[in-house]
């Protein structure tokens, strides 16, 4: 179909990199151009989504080589939905004003590298070629590294090094798995690999390579026991950037896991789902226990990311059509909620004076509307009815019980309770508790753009929560063609 649109997820961020680089002398203009490019990205993604919603697939084969030989982009409903929600989050994040962030070294390079990151994200969601996917992961890795170390303080560099080492191990494993799968199947194109692996059946070597591929993606997704880079790297980022990282990066890993297990390597992966399920349960539990232990808002929310990734992986591990649809629904809802929580967390820090809950308090009295705004994504993350998270959790738990996986379903419910506990801790400490002695006076009013960004994301959460059926139908339709869900190639 439309050839220009299918490469837009990569070309628009590339344009963003170039124009923000050219405008490096003027921070104000740079920020405006950056926001404009983000809106263009969101618009292109929305156009892709509206084009694919009926089941069409946007495809491009570079160099016009015949089908399996060419490096291909292929955007179906799954990819287009991920792109759209990424675009929405990017716009919200760039709309959110950076606190006290005068220009200086950070302002200069931040926007080009953010768009570089989006280029990696866009490429990963569009690519239909396994090696190409590896390259996009590397683009994401190097841009994310640049953003992490840009502050150049000691904690930034340490966070960057931890991020680099653990993620580089992941990409090397990804590379080995890609090489092995190519050696076995002679293909790199998703569809062609799928056909070749199907024909082979359950060969032990194929299973080993697919397991290696899944492990490398789990490192990217921040699953147990590979998540240690995440709470080390994220809390040192400035608020809006942190929200973008938290919303998108691990979810690219989750998307790729869904793509590999559900579509590309459905036959070899089917034997690995049991293990994936237990990893998911461990991820959920460890993540939420970490969140319950910590006092720093950013670290609590970072551990929540890990816990929620567990739910997504659990839904994939169920291996049914409804399970895969639940995974997609969960991912889409979670990106919005998580990014919003981090944005509002930054506002709370601005108002209360500290990220540490032991030194914060009294926000409910001084800023009741901020508290109300925080309550929406927080309750959604916990799974309170009539918010998007309730439906996402309901889908996962119901499918667990329907398939007879009572232990997994029980663990999901237990983790829901623990999430409620850690969220209540955050709520009562930061919002209800009177402001502790000696903490700084609440600072000035919250800028309108921050209200816009957070309110917009909260409105999406509410809309999904009140009227989940369209998104649910869409998720079911998006995964219906996947071989693991019973679709044919």
């Amino acid at each position: 179909m439309n050839g220009a649109l299918v490469v837009a997820p990569v070309l628009v961020p590339l344009l963003g990199v170039l124009v923000t680089l050219l405008a490096w002398r003027r921070p104000g203009r740079q920020a405006r151009l950056s926001l404009a490019c983000a809106m263009l990205f969101a618009a292109a993604a929305t156009a892709l989504l509206s084009g694919t919603v009926g089941g069409q697939v946007f495809e491009a084969r570079f160099g016009d080589w015949p089908a399996p030989a060419a490096i291909a982009f292929s955007i179906d409903r799954l990819g287009a939905a991920m792109l759209t929600v990424s675009g929405v989050v990017l716009v919200a994040v760039l709309l959110f004003p950076v606190h006290g962030g005068g220009p200086g070294a950070r302002g200069l390079w931040l926007h080009p590298m953010l768009h570089g990151l989006m280029m990696g994200v866009g490429g990963a969601f569009s690519s239909a070629d396994l090696f190409n996917l590896y390259v996009w992961f590397e683009v994401m890795l190097i841009s994310a590294l640049g953003v992490i170390v840009i502050g150049a303080r000691r904690e930034h560099l340490e966070a960057g090094l931890k991020y680099l080492v653990l993620n580089l191990v992941g990409t090397v494993m990804l590379l080995i798995a890609v090489g092995g799968i190519y050696g076995l199947s002679g293909q790199l194109n998703f569809a062609a690999i799928g056909v070749a692996l199907d024909r082979m059946g359950e060969v032990p070597l194929a299973q080993a390579y697919v397991a290696l591929l899944l492990i490398s993606l789990l490192i990217k997704a921040g699953a147990f026991p590979f998540f240690f880079w995440l709470p080390a790297a994220y809390p040192n980022l400035p608020t809006p950037i942190l929200a973008l990282f938290a919303g998108l990066l691990t979810k690219v890993g989750a998307y790729a896991t869904l793509r590999v297990a559900g579509q590309i390597a459905a036959v070899p992966a089917a034997g690995l789902l049991e293990a994936l399920g237990w990893i998911a349960v461990a991820t959920m539990l460890v993540g939420v226990l970490g969140a319950a232990h910590h006092w720093d808002t950013r670290r609590i929310l970072s551990f929540h990311i890990i816990s929620q990734i567990g739910y997504i992986l659990l839904a994939i591990a169920l291996g049914t059509a409804a399970g895969l649809a639940a995974a997609l629904f969960y991912t889409l809802h979670h990106i919005v909620v998580k990014a919003n929580l981090f944005l509002i967390g930054g506002l709370v820090r601005r108002v209360a004076g500290s990220h540490d809950l032991r030194h914060a308090g009294g926000v409910f009295r001084s800023h009741p509307w901020l508290a109300a705004l925080f309550a929406i994504p927080a309750a959604s993350l916990v799974g309170v009815p009539l918010l998007s998270g309730f439906w996402a959790k309901l889908l996962v738990v119901r499918e667990c019980f329907a398939g007879g996986d009572y232990l997994w379903g029980g663990a999901a419910l237990l983790v829901g309770g623990l999430t409620l506990y850690s969220m209540l801790k955050l709520w009562s400490e930061a919002f209800w508790k009177p402001r502790p002695e000696g903490s700084p006076e609440p600072s000035a009013a919250i800028p309108t753009r921050a209200w816009l960004a957070c309110g917009g994301l909260a409105a999406i959460t509410l809309a999904i929560g009140v009227h989940p059926q369209p998104l649910l139908d869409f998720s079911m339709a998006a995964v219906s063609a996947m071989p693991l869900a019973g679709g044919s190639r």
Binding site: A159, L164, D296
Partner: protein, 128 residues
């Protein structure tokens, strides 16, 4: 025979890299990652068949000469991976050296300012 030799080489390089990555010296860690990357590249190279000196160029009837030529595609993949790995290794070494200059030593155990160290009572400390 040559396949076995290559496999042993890959194993040796990967083992050396793993040993370095698990060390405490940060520059060693980054160099170890480079070595593991090199092992992965060798593995990828082997995925496209080894042996056969014929150039990967088919002119006559298809499939006539393919048997004794190596598949050039993994070689192209290796080339890409080398470039990416080179950039990341350079970045990592620069990062490790900068850390060493800031703190006086490039020791993995000294990396404790990005995460809150535990207090005496077991609660997490305050993160800046």
């Amino acid at each position: 025979m040559s396949a076995l030799l290559l496999a042993l080489c890959v194993a040796a390089v990967a083992a050396a890299g793993l040993y370095l990555v698990l060390a405490r010296d940060l520059v060693g860690v980054v160099l170890g990652l480079g070595l593991i990357g090199a092992a992965a590249n060798l593995f990828l190279f082997a995925a496209g068949r080894i042996g056969g000196l014929t150039a990967a160029f088919v002119s006559g009837p298809e499939g006539a000469a393919i048997a004794d030529m190596a598949n050039p595609l993994p070689q192209a993949l290796v080339l890409t991976a080398i470039v990416i790995g080179f950039a990341l290794t350079c970045f990592g070494i620069a990062l490790a050296l900068r850390l060493a200059r800031l703190g006086g030593k490039a020791d993995a155990d000294a990396l404790c300012s990005a995460e809150p160290p535990p207090r005496r009572d077991g609660e997490p400390g305050v993160l800046r």
